[in-house]
Symmetry: C2
Subunit: 227 residues, 2 copies
């Protein structure tokens, strides 16, 4: 895999309370330079990112219900509609993790379905990723939450927000890939900071990487395709 191919799997990410407009603009410039799949930002910065991406092929990914997932389903749907109105082409939502801890996977499915319905009302196709926050779940809960997310309409399951007690692990990525089968995406996010880790996630079954240290991840690879 060369640098261009790896970059195309990365959601170049700047999230959280201290993210500024200037930081988001820098992120977008970097993403266009690297050729990442998307930039991933908070809803507050969606319009800034859309403007900064300009005519670039980099998609705009916006998080919803982030990072705890414990707002209402209708609140998440509202955020989704706003994100899409601001130009989002991908939505990374957090499932109601507490519902998974209660064993109420129907509530997880319904929550994802509410966001999916909002996404489908938009004017363009939207990729929906459901963040499970695997570090807070047992393996059984991970499996059931992933199934519920797919039943609710998620195009991807995603390991982590990057704001909890742990990030993506090779074991969790492999578990999710086994559970969701070959047609659903798996995004490894949280703590993916170097080339070796990123490649290990892809080998384990990830089809997308969430990362802020994209430059470090790409630094370990050649520019041009291998012969």
């Amino acid at each position: 895999m060369n640098k261009t191919e790896l970059a195309a799997t990365i959601d170049h990410t700047l999230l959280g309370p201290t993210a500024t407009r200037a930081g988001v603009e820098k992120l977008c410039g970097e993403a266009a330079g690297f050729g990442t799949a998307s930039v991933c930002v908070d809803l507050r910065h969606a319009a800034t990112a859309r403007r900064a991406l300009g005519g670039s092929a980099v998609k705009l990914c916006v998080v919803v219900g982030f990072p705890h997932g414990m707002t209402s389903s209708s609140g998440k749907a509202f955020e989704t509609s706003e994100a899409i109105a601001a130009g989002a082409e991908e939505i990374d939502m957090v499932i109601p993790i507490g519902a998974a801890k209660e064993g109420d996977f129907e509530a997880v499915r319904a929550d994802v379905a509410a966001v999916c319905a909002a996404a489908r009302r938009g004017p363009r196709p939207v990729i929906l990723k459901a963040i499970l926050e695997t570090c807070l779940l047992t393996d059984d809960e991970k499996e059931k939450a992933a199934r519920a997310a797919v039943e609710g309409g998620a195009d991807f399951v995603k390991t982590s927000t990057g704001f909890s007690t742990g990030g993506a692990t090779v074991g969790d990525v492999a578990l999710l890939r086994r559970v969701v089968g070959p047609k659903i995406g798996v995004k490894a996010a949280g703590g993916v900071r170097d080339t070796a880790t990123a490649l290990a996630m892809l080998k384990a079954g990830a089809t997308r990487i969430g990362a802020s240290r994209t430059a470090d991840i790409l630094a370990g690879l050649d520019e041009s395709p291998r012969p």
Copy 2:
């Protein structure tokens, strides 16, 4: 100060991704027993808490834009309306912390004002608390953010979410009290886990305490009023 008086200053709190309905029901029972000012829960659990509180005098406090504050202002207003429809009497919103880091305190004011407007559209008076996340701000930013929150209509400024790099400090509580004057509330939240700390916060100018370890905080005090 006796146990009853201290309890009346406390928002008994269960927030975050792993909070379950059973946990919220237990919280509400405890709050009624202690006689706390409120229970503080995520929007997902607002209706559960309202039912569990029944006819108790304990208020229902719901968090909005929690814990990063980086969703849209209209998203926070939407959550506020939903929380009030579910019975919330107090709203603890997170300011757009990134806007404070940009020095854009007009954006902070406008964000609080949007939530305040939504709260005022409800059928009953609502107490609005603006969470500044003081651990992420310089003293100058704390001061300007507090002023902006009050200008936006906040009834209280609150130090912390409990989910960042630090919680309430006596110094920050004193700073906020000095900035907002005597008529606005100051809520000390995050890391207040024992009687001495709670009393120190009140002495520094806090008028409300956010705590999950309410039993431990109250354990250090007498049941009955001192003569």
